[in-house]
Amino acid sequence: MDDSMGEQFDDSDLNITEEVAAPTTQDFGLDDINTSDTEALTASQVIELMESAWLNEKFSPEILPHKTEIVDCLLGQISYMEENLENLESNDFQKSLHQMETYRLRYLVTSYLRIRLEKIEMFNYEILKQEEVREEKNEESYLSAGELQFAKEYKENLEQHFDNVLSFWPGLPPDDWKKEYIKPNLHSFVFLKSKTEIEGVIIDDGNEEDGDLVDFKNGSQMIISYNSVSNLVKKGDVQLI
């Protein structure tokens, strides 16, 4: 992946001296960034959280609670860096490395957001219904404001499209497809790594009576059904891998 990124920089004729000026981002990474009122995180911690959210989103069958703060924070860092890079000479030795890093981080964020958009399209009705339920219960929304807007517009377009198409078939009951919307298979098997000691995880093996109880050691890895661990994923006690 980086090979192709690397090829974009033509710095073969760089003449590096000892006196390369450090970019004007001296305190980057050292600065604490406020992601919420209570937590202060370094930029590298933000990247770790982003990576973790990306992998969880990639492997979980359902859409997970949004991480807008982390996304915004990281995008802010990337933009800030990119602005600073404009002031650097194009043959600066450090510039290409900074650029490579911003490309890598952009990939991380965009891949994460794309996966969520795909889920919103695929499970549109289910996700919007869940969001309504959460709103009624005064629970935190899983979609970001932008995603919610996208989801609603997508739904409108879909319905408009179906109305247009189905109007040619007067005999068809036009609303049936809305009742049979596609839901994620929450029982899908996933791989995970435990980030802490967890006792008594109930395995959903499909039987009516309670399934086996399993203990996770810190660092232990399992293949298990997602619904047995979905709350642990959301709490951050396990990482999907």
Binding site: E118, M122, D176, W177, E180, Y181, I182, K183, S188
Partner: protein, 201 residues
């Protein structure tokens, strides 16, 4: 598509629509006016009680259930005992594709006409026993276009996704310079032969 989801039936699933199209033997319990054209052997306008026909299972299931059942459904031939015996003997040797394109999906519908639950047991045993074969096929480097002929559609889906992922991995491994290509093919061949022998014994 970056979401790799396993198959599960939904309203829009073509596989589910096609599987529920499969025909099931049934017998009419009452006369049905004006449906004689369903029976190609008869020229009557009405369909007489006692007529035996094969109808798609999406139609058979609702018409055969409930208090006002119009038809009595039978188990499709491929799930009857003689066929179950063949599957019990050696599921790996069976050409499931010939049994039925949607052997498992159709079976999940047809099992409701099997009171003792033998069909469901057969589906599970067949799937578990044939999995090794699917995995071996998916892991093989070359793709013989005829190779998945013996697989039903569900197995094909597994094979296809597995093979796609395996090919990507193998291509990546070749880039490591570890000369995995030739070696991999040889070991796979050996393994497959050995496994087949075990299966015969």
């Amino acid at each position: 598509m970056s979401l790799v989801l396993s198959y599960s039936p939904n309203y829009f699933s073509i596989d589910d629509i096609l599987a529920s199209q499969e025909r099931t033997p049934c017998k009419f319990l009452t006369n049905v006016p004006k449906l004689g054209k369903l029976n190609p052997a008869s020229e009557d306008d009405d369909l007489a009680a006692g007529t035996s026909l094969e109808l798609p299972i999406w139609l058979v299931q609702p018409l055969s259930s409930g208090r006002h059942a119009i038809i009595a459904a039978d188990l499709p031939r491929i799930y009857t005992e003689p066929y179950r015996e063949i599957l019990k003997a050696d599921p790996v040797a069976v050409d499931l594709h010939k049994f039925n394109l949607y052997f498992y999906e159709f079976g999940l519908y047809a099992k409701s006409f099997d009171i003792r639950g033998d069909v469901a047991t057969t589906l599970i045993y067949t799937f578990i026993t044939r999995f090794r074969k699917i995995m071996d096929l998916a892991d093989n480097m070359g793709l013989d276009p005829l190779i998945n002929d013996g697989l039903d559609m569900l197995e094909r889906g597994l094979f296809f996704e597995g093979h796609k992922a395996r090919t990507k991995l193998n291509n990546w491994l070749i880039q490591t310079g570890m000369q995995l290509e030739a070696a991999n093919m040889v070991t796979n061949h050996k393994k497959r032969k050995r496994v087949n022998l075990e299966d015969i014994i």
